[in-house]
């Protein structure tokens, strides 16, 4: 047996050692090879470098904006604090030394504090504060206005006299007392509730014309529906994705596919049918960060950057017809599963409306706008490598319309969680192709969080 086996192996090896044969389609093969190997120059818009640069630039822009507006917000709040201090001098200011008062006076000339500073100076020099035996204590912890008022004037009669003097000042001493009373009352009011605004006119009144004025209690500005409020947040979405492919070419389905070979394939009528009836989609995930700003009492603007990926697949069997010279007799059916996987960077720009409920626990919002979809990757895989699908190029940049609605739960005034529904659809076909159009849409349910600043 063995020598015979060897004979067979030797027979074949020697016969094929230098065997060569001219293929019938040598030049066509070479043309196919050259087409595959010598790829056309790629547009700059489609290069990985451009895509990476776009993403980096977008992130840098977002960070820059965030930093810029954060700085602006710090400056604004600092200015507000200055105004507040000027309008309601604190107890500590009252105990400043003469030198300090003088310095303050110099800097305050010409502004609305001039009168108060002069009064302060006179008061300290003449020791009126001790004469009247009116003690001022820090009562920052007191919340009830009346309690504080009564505490400050331990003797109720004294208070009544002082109030009476406001109505009917008769002597210079009473006028001095009146000055004292006015300042004391004002101080107490500011201690009791810093949010009470002392009427500007009251500050400007000449002392002798002061009349008894009921403290004006302005509604304390609610937790500022701050018109300059900013937030940053992050969200994660679970999307239902639908590619919505419509075949448009009149000579379908064969124009949808390209054979890289010279096989004798039959018309692939299954392709269009599979695209129409048999598309399977995989769930899509989107994760990202967003930044928003209130631009009115309830209106807001938001943007951000997200990453998303999605996939569809279908099976379009390829049928191989036997040629006349072929040994095969039956049509061969190749199951050809096609999978298209895409990943994108999304940069949305949305305008919306947000409620501010009295409970300050739960709010809702709606928003709408556009999204720039920057393509990262689009891969079309087939199980049968001899056939490629002529879907055209997936565009590097697509624009989508987007709308969202959601609920915000405020865990703290600064931190909120959110539940959001989102719909997005491209404004035009994502493929550059004469054979088909695809205007995909995504319906997403997302969770996220926001931090106000």
């Amino acid at each position: 047996m063995k020598p015979q086996n060897k004979n067979i192996e030797d027979l074949f090896r020697s016969a094929f050692e230098d065997a060569s044969l001219e293929p019938p389609h040598k030049e066509e093969m070479w043309a196919h090879i050259q087409n595959a190997v010598q790829k056309p120059p790629v547009s700059i818009w489609k290069t990985t470098r451009f895509r990476v640069s776009s993403i980096a630039a977008s992130i840098a822009l977002l960070i820059g904006l965030l930093y810029y507006f954060n700085q602006e917000s710090v400056t604004t709040s600092a200015k507000k604090d200055d105004v507040k201090h000027t309008a309601s001098p604190s107890v500590e200011n009252r105990t400043l030394s003469d030198e300090q008062i003088t310095a303050k006076e110099n800097s305050a000339i010409g502004n609305s504090n001039e009168l108060k500073t002069q009064i302060n100076k006179t008061e300290n020099k003449e020791g009126l504060g001790s004469d009247k035996n009116v003690s001022i204590k820090s009562k920052r912890t007191k919340q009830n206005f009346n309690d504080i008022f009564q505490d400050e004037f331990e003797n109720e009669n004294e208070l009544n006299v002082l109030i009476e003097n406001i109505d009917n000042p008769t002597t210079p001493k009473q006028q001095e007392a009146l000055t004292k009373t006015y300042l004391e009352i004002k101080e107490i009011i500011s201690l009791a509730s810093p949010q009470i605004v002392i009427p500007f006119a009251l500050d400007k009144q000449p002392i002798l014309q002061l009349v008894r004025v009921e403290p004006v209690l302005f509604e304390a500005k609610k937790e500022e529906k701050a018109e300059n409020e900013w937030w940053v947040g992050f969200t994660g979405f679970y999307n239902h994705y639908k590619p919505t492919i419509i075949t448009t070419s009149p000579d379908l389905p064969t124009s949808l596919i390209k054979f890289s070979t010279m096989r004798n394939f039959t018309d692939c009528t299954n392709v269009a049918k599979a695209i129409r009836d048999d598309i399977q989609v995989s769930p899509s995930i989107t994760v990202g960060i967003d930044i928003g700003k209130l631009v009115g009492k309830n209106w807001f603007f938001k943007s951000g950057i997200s990453f998303t990926n999605f996939r569809y697949s279908f099976n379009s069997p390829i049928l191989e017809k036997p040629s006349a010279s072929s040994a095969q007799t039956n049509i061969i059916r190749y199951e050809n599963y096609v999978t298209n996987t895409t990943s994108q960077i999304l940069i949305p720009i949305q305008f919306g409306y947000q409620s501010f409920s009295k409970s300050k626990l739960l709010d809702w919002f709606v928003a709408g706008g556009f999204t720039s979809d920057i393509l990262l990757n689009n891969i079309l895989n087939t199980t049968y490598s001899e056939v490629t699908y002529n879907f055209g190029n997936y565009k590097s940049l697509n624009i989508s319309m987007t709308g969202s609605a959601g609920l915000l739960y405020h865990v703290t005034p600064q931190f909120s969680t959110l539940l959001e529904l989102n719909y997005r659809r491209t404004t035009s076909s994502v493929y550059d192709s004469p054979n088909l159009t695809s205007q995909p849409h995504w319906i997403g349910v997302g969770l996220g969080a926001r931090f106000k600043f």
Binding site: P3, Q4, N5, N7, L11, F12, F16, I33, T261, R263
Partner: protein
């Protein structure tokens, strides 16, 4: 056929192909396409299939030539890619093929015949008449010279299966050779 034999010429040619030089690629193609076409034919049933394999293989060769580091000869590297491409093309069929275990094989006694030399085209027809599984394993073992353990690893089958498939393929080839020689004898007698 253009000659690419000298070592330095081969290196220049490979370097030019790495630079995607179309002229160098054409030279490489011209040098190998006829020989590799026969290799592809051995793993195919039709000329169409062989051309598909050859085309796909040359695309791979040009796309991966930067990975050729002269650790083996260029001839061997090119042939290896053609064989691998052929195996990939047939993988679907090979996966579906029912592979019998070696235990089920009962080798039939074969007459001790010494075969006369044959034209490679006659032998090629015989190989192409084998079923795809037998054809692949016969090629790999009898002609390429792989061991059964290597074939088993390449195709993802057991070594025993490779042996059994080869034994059956060989029986069929021997019968075909005997028939062919019988025909020759009859013709000579006539």
């Amino acid at each position: 056929m253009q000659q690419v034999n000298h070592d330095s010429e081969v290196r220049k040619l490979v370097s030019a192909c790495i630079r995607n030089d179309a002229k160098a690629q054409r030279t490489l193609y011209e040098h190998y396409y006829k020989k590799m076409y026969v290799v592809a034919l051995r793993y195919s049933k039709t000329t169409f299939e062989a051309e598909d394999i050859l085309q796909e293989a040359f695309i791979k060769i040009f796309q991966n030539i930067q990975n050729f580091h002269f650790e083996s000869s260029l001839d061997y590297w090119v042939k290896r890619i053609v064989v691998n491409t052929a195996l990939k093309q047939n993988r679907k069929i090979l996966e579906k093929m029912h592979m019998e275990d070696v235990a089920e094989i009962h080798d039939e006694p074969i007459a001790d015949v010494v075969f006369a030399a044959h034209n490679f085209q006659e032998l090629l027809k015989m190989i192409q008449k084998l079923s795809t599984g037998y054809q692949v394993i016969f090629n790999l073992y009898a002609i390429e010279g792989y061991k059964h353990s290597e074939i088993a690893e390449m195709l993802g089958i057991s070594e025993g299966t490779s042996k059994s498939q080869y034994a059956r393929a060989k029986v069929q080839i021997q019968k075909m050779l005997e028939k062919e020689e019988e025909k020759i004898r009859i013709n000579q007698t006539a």
